[in-house]
């Protein structure tokens, strides 16, 4: 399959790996489901301590940012569809974050048969144990907006470059 935009696609994956790296070095493994599954229990302590705003909200920024870039890089170059992609990932992140604010109501909606199924079993604890912070909401909006802005810049640059090449003798 041909990528819509390689730079956006690879930048998205790079951002996603940065996000994973952040969890590995800046969050205790016991605080997240996937680290608890992947890492040995002895790897329980975070390695670095970042400023609290970054420590708390970086994942909320990077998640819509990375997935928006991957989505745009994979699927579309039109402005309307890129806006749609960024909005979709922003809304998804907002849904889960707001769910952590109304934890009991959301956790109660998680089907019991999720229990015991890898990943899905963590849906309830995700809402119950997660923390809601307005900064996280801002971080998500900034993440999605930044992804869209980068796509605009990259695509404008690429179009100008292509235009220049076409005009040059």
């Amino acid at each position: 399959m041909r990528l819509a935009n390689r730079k956006l696609f690879y930048l998205g994956w790079l951002s996603l790996f940065c996000g994973i790296a952040f969890y590995v070095i800046a969050r205790p493994s016991g605080s997240t489901y996937f680290l608890g599954k992947l890492l040995h229990p002895s790897f329980a302590s975070q390695i670095i301590k970042l400023p609290s705003l970054i420590q708390g909200s970086f994942p909320d920024f990077v998640h819509p940012f990375a997935f928006s870039l991957i989505g745009m890089g994979l699927l579309s170059l039109t402005r309307a569809s890129r806006l749609c992609i960024c909005s979709s990932f922003l809304l998804m992140n907002l849904f889960f974050k707001i769910g952590q604010n109304y934890k009991y109501a959301f956790a109660a909606q998680v089907p019991k048969w999720f229990g015991g199924i890898p990943l899905m079993e963590n849906a309830g604890p995700f809402f119950l144990r997660g923390t809601f912070d307005v900064n996280d909401i801002f971080a998500m909006i900034v993440g999605a907006a930044a992804a869209f802005a980068i796509s605009e810049l990259l695509i404008i640059q690429q179009r100008e470059g292509k235009h220049d090449r076409e005009k040059s003798p």
Binding site: M1, Y23, S29, G30, S31, T32, Y33, F34, L35, G36, K37, P41, A44, P59, H63, F67, I70, G71, L74, L75, S76, I85, S88, F89, M92, N93, F96, Q100, Y104, A107, A108, V110, K112, G115, G116, L119, M120, N122, A123, G124, P125, F126, F127, L128, R129, G130
Partner: protein, 481 residues
């Protein structure tokens, strides 16, 4: 071709959204480990007060209690006992409503439903408007159990189980004859009173069944007949062949209902307890009256406390089974045992004795009496309630200074005065319990016109009545008095 491409892109977008959602869920909620699976599948009851017992069922628990870290919405709890699939713990002081977590070796399981922390305190009583209105107080909130047009009473202590407060009492639909009843929350359940004036004075919830005990008063014969109710089914207890008898206290152990009380043999009241419907008579001196006021069941043995008269004076005692152990007053004057507790195989009783000049409050550990300080050298003081925690004896009561009764409790022999309403009117602490290390006493205070039900957490008084209408926290013992 364009349509196929669009379909492919839509599928890719959906896949990306699913991957995104999965990664969000995976990035929170706590760790797990494939080799160490800690799960909580259920807990019971669904709610309760501080100090209440909670059983957590799941997998991956440590069989060593200290290795299981249990928390109620983040507040650490003490594990009482555990197996790999079950943890028994108590609701810790300071716990708030929220999920229960169990952490074993750094791996945490979180319950998917919340444990509801209810007030540890629930006192039954009544307030007086146009009639007596039955009510209980949970914390500072008064919950009316009847309206102000039908006479009703409720008794303390009530029983707080699974977040529901159970209160025993009486409801009079015609304001003439009462029907024994209990309230589950505010829902009244009438108990078969056989057309007589029924009153339930004690309630226990065991194995999902509500047990109540009390008696039926026949206004024609002036006799009271003892009984207990399992659910709404009345079980009559053998009393004194047409003469009065009453079940004053209730305990349920191993599925058997134990009640203690008195029966009249035609000449005098005699103490007894009932195991189911089998009455076991307790011996006084054989010739004079005796009372069993309180009951406790421990290790399969029934303990009752009270007193008997030898014709000259009343002698406090307790019975382990039917074996009476006399408790010493001053040897020359009357004395009473009003309350009993059994802890670690030791019997604790509390009451007071007279030295001929005044009544002296005291408690007995086994038969060893410890005198408690009243207010001065010349006036009476009384003990009504007892609780034992960590080997320390806590008692509640009041002392008289010649003008008024002052409520108090004692930690060991040290008296701690509680604030009544004013400098001239009575107040008393009738019941005592310990929850999360805090001493709670309940009783009433008077301003000379209105009696107001109240409780004290430590020495801080919280009024339960509204200050306009009379209100009382009352005990089953008072009912028969």
């Amino acid at each position: 071709m364009i349509g196929r491409n669009r379909l492919k892109k839509s599928i890719l977008m959906l896949a990306l959204l699913f991957l995104s959602a999965a990664s969000i869920v995976a990035s929170g909620g706590g760790g797990g480990d494939p080799s160490v699976s800690v799960t909580i599948t259920s807990f019971s009851p669904a709610g309760g007060g501080v100090g209440g017992t909670v059983t957590i069922v799941g997998t991956g628990f440590s069989t060593t209690a200290a290795n299981n870290a249990v928390a109620f919405n983040g507040t650490a709890a003490v594990v009482t006992s555990c197996t790999s699939t079950e943890i028994v713990t108590t609701v810790p002081s300071g716990a708030t409503t929220g999920p229960i977590t169990v952490t074993v070796g750094g791996h945490t399981a979180t319950s998917t439903t919340s444990f509801t922390v209810t007030s540890p305190l629930a006192f039954g009583g009544y307030w007086f408007g146009t009639t007596n209105v039955a009510c209980y107080w949970a914390g500072t909130t008064r919950v009316d159990l009847s309206d102000d047009t039908h006479n009703a009473l409720a008794f303390s202590p009530t029983f707080n189980s699974g977040g529901t407060v159970y209160t025993a009492g009486q409801y009079s639909p015609d304001n003439v004859t009462g029907t024994a009843c209990y309230w589950a929350g505010t829902t009244r359940v009438d108990l078969d009173s056989n057309g007589l004036d029924g009153t339930a004075v004690a309630v226990v919830v065991d194995g999902g069944t509500v047990y109540t005990a009390g008696g039926l008063y026949n206004a024609q014969t002036f006799a009271t007949y003892p009984c207990y109710w399992a659910g709404t089914t009345r079980v009559d207890l053998p009393g004194g062949a047409g003469n009065s008898a009453a079940a004053l206290a209730l305990a349920v152990s191993g599925g058997t209902v134990y009640t203690s009380g008195i029966w009249y043999d035609g000449a005098k009241y005699l103490p007894c307890y009932w195991a189911g419907t089998a009455r076991t008579d307790l011996a006084g001196d054989g010739a004079h009256e005796a009372f069993a006021n309180a009951i406790a069941v421990s290790g399969g043995t029934v303990y009752t406390a009270g007193y008997y008269s030898n014709g000259t004076k009343k002698i406090p005692c307790y019975w382990a089974g039917t074996t009476r152990t006399d408790l010493a007053g001053d040897g020359a004057h009357e004395a009473f045992a009003n309350a009993i507790a059994v802890s670690g195989g030791t019997v604790y009783t509390a009451g007071y004795y007279s030295n001929g000049t005044k009544k002296i409050p005291c408690y007995w550990v086994g038969t060893t009496r410890t005198d408690l300080a009243g207010g001065d050298a010349t006036h009476d003081a009384y003990v009504y309630g007892i609780a034992v925690s960590g080997g320390t004896v806590y008692t509640s009561g009041s002392w008289w200074n010649g003008t008024k009764l002052t409520p108090c409790y004692w930690v060991g022999a040290t008296r701690i005065d509680l604030a009544g309403g004013d400098a001239t009117n009575d107040a008393q602490a009738l019941t005592i319990t310990l929850v999360g290390g805090t001493v709670y006493t309940a009783g009433y205070w008077s301003n000379g016109t209105i009696e107001t039900a109240c409780y004290w957490a430590g020495t801080t008084r919280t009024d339960l009545g509204d200050g306009v209408h009379d209100s009382r926290v009352q005990t089953g013992y008072e009912w028969f008095d």
